[in-house]
């Protein structure tokens, strides 16, 4: 069974890119969300295995979304998607319960490498 992924980003462009990278690598995209608020709602509906979460988004930012999701679920893997220079925000997300992070602009191989590492950690 393939890994089910929810992609969260306010830019459709970014969602599309991630979707392509992940689909090519054999992941199943089960949902998309354009804000933190939407992410939490979508999460409840589709119960994905993995979420890619943008940090700066309207309505509710990614960190807040992580906090809200962690209140409901401690299992799902959350990968923060961040731009360069957002160290503080990433650390805050990690403290909020995110598992790892990837940095824009993406190198597809790197994204997959990190996702695999995060998922393999879970198996142990």
């Amino acid at each position: 069974m393939s890994i089910r992924v929810l992609i969260v980003d306010d830019a459709a462009f970014m969602r599309m890119m991630l979707k392509d990278i992940l689909t090519k690598a054999g992941y199943e995209i089960v949902g998309e969300a354009a804000s933190g608020l939407e992410a939490v709602e979508r999460f409840k509906e589709v119960k994905p295995d993995l979420i890619t979460m943008d940090i700066t988004m309207p309505e509710m930012d990614g960190i807040e979304a992580v906090r809200n999701i962690r209140k409901i679920d401690s299992e799902v893997k959350i990968l923060m998607v961040s731009a360069m220079g957002q160290q503080k925000l990433i650390i805050e997300s990690l403290e909020a319960g995110a598992n790892d992070f990837i940095v824009k602009p993406f190198q597809p191989a790197k994204v997959i490498e990190i996702i695999e590492k995060v998922l393999s950690r879970a198996k142990v």
Partner: protein
């Protein structure tokens, strides 16, 4: 390695650790299920063990090692915190304290701890049985902490290295304690490194587990781990060195420095000498009337003032330093006496001069023992008279003008003035006629007489009253005062007034005949000039009327027996009205010289203890002025 240079740091730090041990053990006892205190206790014992081993204090190290084993079991919830267990731990802390005191005085920690070690072992073993039944987790790791040097290589295409470092630290800190890193954590945070860095980890875990944890982190290319040192003396030393290096690297952050109190005393004395010399300079400058000189002297005065303030502040220590030892004492005592007491400490942050602080520990201890031992009733008795079973003892400190006020309040049985009077008559302290003249407050003050006690039964404690005179004398020697308030049936309150700081004070210089005296400005309320006919006599006592109140007069030349050269009669007299508490008197002086900052030097034993004299001060002209002790002049202290 020569560790002697660290003795002082060891001593002061060990004492702090013991203090925190006492506090955290108390917290643990109150809340046995809370993990926080036990972690803190464990940490403190562990730190102490490491320090002691480094210093070659084997007894301390051994005992703390055994304690640590037991604590570790508690921490893992493998045994229950029972009263007997906390008692044992408290006993260990006491023995540790004794050993450390020995170390400080004799440089040796030798002490018979075999029995205690045996008890600890038993307790640990006893609980081991339990743990095997309850949990099936085998104890894989030995109790030994190891130091590992871990070199971490990040992927070269790794983005946001600092966040990776953060993740590495976070994971490692879950395994143990990251002691140090190269480059420093600060530089790592700023990404001032290539793709590899070193971390020193102190942990009980095995290499494999560490490797697994670290390599699981994304962007970690490779990890090299080597056992840095086992836990034994030599290596502890290295660990200590590690800390030392780190502290040098992080010296930017260092906010405090430990200074020997003797050194501060020296600085204080030197500042005192400066103040004296400045006064001399002022006198000389007065002769020359040079504007430039005056200006410089003004500046010098300001700098000197600042310097003095700084030194005074540097000597200030929060009163918590001594307050902190009392909760433990109150606990032990109330347990021993089977009383239930809620002991509250307030105002720990109030700061006092170190010398004052060092002196008030014992007096406060006396008063608190009295409050717990004699003030608060037994639980059953309290219930019978409609009070809560748990008695209340409050120790509080607050600032007020130039004084720190320390209060010891209990909600116990209070004192009975009539009983105190009767007892005083019986013991021959006062006659029945005298007793009739005393009001309630004066009656209460009788308990300050040496050898007075109204306690009907004697316990392991001193009876109420014994010790109170010692307390009063001590507080007064420090320039403070003690007040007693008590209400029969509802409690007693001791109020101690203490100066924040000693040494340099503002004083008024006066002349009596040919002698110069200094009167502390803080005691003076008013200065008036009188014609001699305004002095009246009431009950053979000379008085004058000030704002419709009668103020008794004291002739200093009579008190100090200064010979009148009798050449001329003074028609006008200056009266310095002094006041302490609610007591007021007028000191008759011949001449006012002026206000000056003085440095009080204590009088040595040979000439010390003169009634009415607090010490001496050197004036600008090199002459010595005696500093008046207004308290004893007002008849508030025992000596008059």
């Amino acid at each position: 390695m020569d560790v002697s240079q660290y003795t002082e740091v060891f001593n002061s730090e060990a004492i702090e650790l013991l203090q925190s041990l006492n506090e955290t053990l108390l917290a643990l006892e109150k809340n046995p299920d809370d993990l926080k205190p036990i972690e803190a206790v464990f940490r403190a014992v562990h730190t102490l063990k490491g320090m002691a081993a480094t210093m070659n204090y084997t007894c301390i190290a051994q005992l703390s090692h055994q304690m640590e084993n037991l604590l570790d079991r508690i921490r893992k919830k493998e045994c229950v915190v029972s009263p007997s267990l906390t008692d044992l731990l408290f006993e260990c802390v006491d023995v540790l304290q004794n050993m450390i005191e020995r170390v400080i005085s004799d440089k040796s920690d030798e002490f018979d701890i075999s029995e205690l070690i045996e008890n600890l072992k038993n307790e640990t073993e006893k609980n081991k049985g339990n743990s095997l039944v309850k949990t099936s987790t085998p104890t894989v790791s030995s109790n030994n902490l190891n130091y590992y040097k871990i070199k971490i290589f990040l992927e070269e295409n790794c983005a946001l290295k600092s966040v990776r470092v953060y993740m590495v630290f976070k994971c490692l800190n879950e395994l143990g304690e990251v002691v140090k890193s190269i480059p420093s954590s600060h530089d790592l945070e700023d990404e001032k490194f290539n793709f590899d860095f070193e971390v020193y980890l102190r942990t009980k875990k095995q290499i494999n587990e560490i490797r697994k944890t670290v390599t699981d982190i994304s962007d970690v290319k490779n990890v090299e781990i080597e056992l840095f040192k086992d836990e034994c003396k030599e290596e502890q030393t290295n660990a200590v060195n590690l800390f030392k290096k780190e502290s040098v690297a992080g010296s930017k952050k260092t906010q405090t420095v430990r200074v020997n109190i003797g050194r501060l005393d020296n600085i204080m004395n030197l500042v005192g000498e400066l103040v004296i010399n400045k006064a001399k300079l002022d006198r000389i400058a007065f002769r020359y009337e040079d504007l430039e000189l005056d200006e410089i002297l003004d500046q010098l005065k300001m700098i000197l003032n600042d310097l003095q303030n700084e030194v005074v502040l540097a000597r200030m220590v929060p009163i918590g330093h001594i307050f902190d030892r009392f909760p433990r004492m109150a606990r032990d005592l109330s347990r021993e006496l089977e009383k239930e007491i809620n002991f509250v400490v307030e105002g720990k942050e109030i700061e006092l001069d170190r010398t004052v602080l060092d002196e008030i520990g014992d007096p406060l201890m006396h008063l608190l023992r009295n409050a717990v031992g004699h003030g608060v009733e037994m639980p059953d008795e309290r219930e019978r008279i409609g009070k809560a079973r748990t008695g209340m003892v409050i120790l509080s400190a607050r600032g007020e003008k130039n004084n720190a006020i320390i209060e010891i309040v209990d909600d116990g049985r209070g004192m009975n003035p009539a009983e105190i009077r009767r007892s005083a008559i019986k013991k021959g302290f006062i006659s029945e006629d005298e007793a009739d003249m005393l009001d309630e407050e004066e009656s209460l003050r009788l308990i300050c007489l040496p050898g007075f006690s109204t306690a009907k039964e004697t316990t392991s404690l001193s009876g109420r009253g014994v010790g109170v005179d010692v307390v009063k004398t001590k507080i007064e020697a420090l320039g403070g005062s003690m007040e007693i308030k008590s209400k029969l049936g509802s409690g007693t309150k001791f109020i101690l007034r203490l100066p924040f700081s000693l040494a340099i004070i503002q004083a008024l210089l006066v002349k009596v005949k040919n002698e110069t005296y200094a009167i502390p400005l803080s005691d003076i309320v008013e200065i008036v000039e009188l014609k001699d006919f305004q002095i009246k006599t009431v009950k053979k006592e000379e008085v004058f009327v000030l704002h419709d109140a009668i103020v008794p007069l004291i002739h200093l030349e009579e008190v100090f027996g200064i010979k009148d050269n009798g050449k001329f009669e003074i028609k006008n007299v200056h009266i310095i009205v002094v006041e302490i508490g609610e007591k007021r008197k007028g000191l008759v002086v011949d001449k006012l010289i002026g206000q000056q900052e003085i440095v009080i030097k204590p009088l040595e034993e040979v000439i010390g203890g003169i009634m009415g004299i607090a010490g001496a001060a050197i004036l600008g002209d090199g002459k010595v002025a005696l500093v008046l002790d207004v308290r004893s002049l007002l008849g508030l202290s025992r000596s008059i």
